[in-house]
């Protein structure tokens, strides 16, 4: 099927992410284009290396979450570290400056005591500070639009007994895709021809046994059908319900194009359980 060739934002390899944030911190401005490439390349990579999530086991549930927090948190962490460093440097410099400054300023007061040197921040440091703060609070403005936000984590699934599968990160994936979990779940059930429920930890319990790979395939199709903009391939889109004709429309936040999407139909469901006694 052609769909399978389409690259989506899946990125099970951690390496990319780890590399990313450092890069992002270092070169703040000019990385929109490589970023876009990365989304695709990350995908191609993924094809060779299928999501390595073992069914069951504490580790599997642990690591992916870590990956995520990494993906999300690393940026911040790095920044904080850097910030701390700069702050330290800054303090040291202040100390130095405190000692030196008084003499220096007194000596050089005739030259030009700019406000910046008065507060001990050079232009570069100010710029650095500005970008770290901006990235922490508003990553979209700092040119990270296509970054971590649109990287879709691989589905984490655990065996729940012998007949059911727990899809642990539905909520999170739905959030990343900017879709309601209910919509995604409805699609999953329709496609997998099964049913299930959401448990207390917001995991999706699906009847039947499914491999992460299989869930990923379905997820991929969901993204193609209900998330990606056909015009610009962006997944920064919204699903809107037109009240007048009760149709769903996909509105792209990047290019503004709109297309209608079909509603989720369950279709024929064969009766597979035990036969009822008549």
């Amino acid at each position: 099927m052609a769909e399978e060739n389409v690259d989506l934002g899946f990125d099970p390899t951690l390496k990319k992410k780890k590399k990313k944030p450092t890069k992002a911190v270092e070169e703040s401005g000019n990385e929109t284009t490589p970023e876009v490439d990365d989304v695709l390349s990350g995908l191609k990579k993924k094809k060779k290396k299928p999501a390595k999530v073992d069914v069951g086991g504490d580790e599997s549930s642990g690591t992916p979450v870590d990956e995520l927090t990494d993906a999300l948190g690393e940026l911040k962490l790095k920044k904080k570290k850097k910030k701390a460093v700069t702050a330290d440097d800054f303090d040291k410099q202040l100390e130095k400056a405190g000692v030196l400054d008084e003499t220096n300023v007194e000596r050089e007061s005739s030259v030009e005591p700019s406000t910046q040197t008065q507060y001990g921040l050079s232009y570069e440091e100010l710029l650095d500070r500005f970008f770290t703060i901006l990235k922490e609070n508003n990553p979209e403005l700092a040119g990270e639009r296509s970054g971590t936000k649109f990287r879709i984590p691989p589905p984490i699934c655990q065996r729940e007994g012998s007949k059911r599968t727990a899809f642990a990160n539905v909520q999170e994936i739905a959030e990343k895709l900017q879709r309601s979990p209910e919509h995604l779940i409805q699609y999953l059930f329709a496609e997998l021809g099964t049913s299930g429920s959401v448990d207390g930890q917001k995991r999706l319990i699906i009847k039947g046994r499914f491999q992460p790979k299989q869930l990923e395939n379905v997820l991929r199709r969901y993204i193609i059908e209900y998330v990606t903009c056909k015009t610009c391939k962006s997944i920064n889109t919204q699903l809107k319900k037109e009240s007048s004709n009760r149709l769903f429309f996909l509105v792209c936040n990047s290019c503004g194009s709109t297309r209608s999407v079909s509603s989720i139909k369950t279709g024929f469901q064969a009766h597979v359980g035990r036969r009822k006694k008549v």
Partner: protein
């Protein structure tokens, strides 16, 4: 000299891309049964085809059992044992010459 404005343009002309969503999709689905067993369902085969005859051929070709289920809303549906989705797709496109874009394979 040709005036652009005077060129006739029919806004309702067939652009050729209005068949993106045919309503008469054939849906091929899979359902899990107990254990590793699965069930393939084929819904929406056009009326002009004789489902019974198709089923007979499919059963023989795929070496599986199957039956026809009547659904109130969705008409007659072919059920086959096992995952026969790709094979059914192949059969529909090659033997019955149904357009591939009208067939949707669901499932994992």
């Amino acid at each position: 000299m040709s005036l652009q404005n005077l060129n006739t343009f029919d806004p309702f002309a067939d652009t050729g891309d209005d068949d993106t969503q045919p309503t008469n999709y054939i849906h091929i689905r899979i359902q899990q049964r107990n254990g590793r067993k699965t069930l393939t369902t084929v819904q929406g085969v056009p009326d002009e085809y004789d489902l019974k005859r198709i089923l007979k051929v499919l059963k023989k070709d795929f070496a599986c059992n199957g039956n026809i289920v009547k659904d109130d809303e969705l008409g007659e549906v072919i059920q086959l044992q096992g995952d026969q989705r790709v094979k059914v797709m192949e059969f529909l496109t090659t033997q019955l010459a149904l357009p591939k874009k009208n067939i949707k394979i669901h499932g994992f």
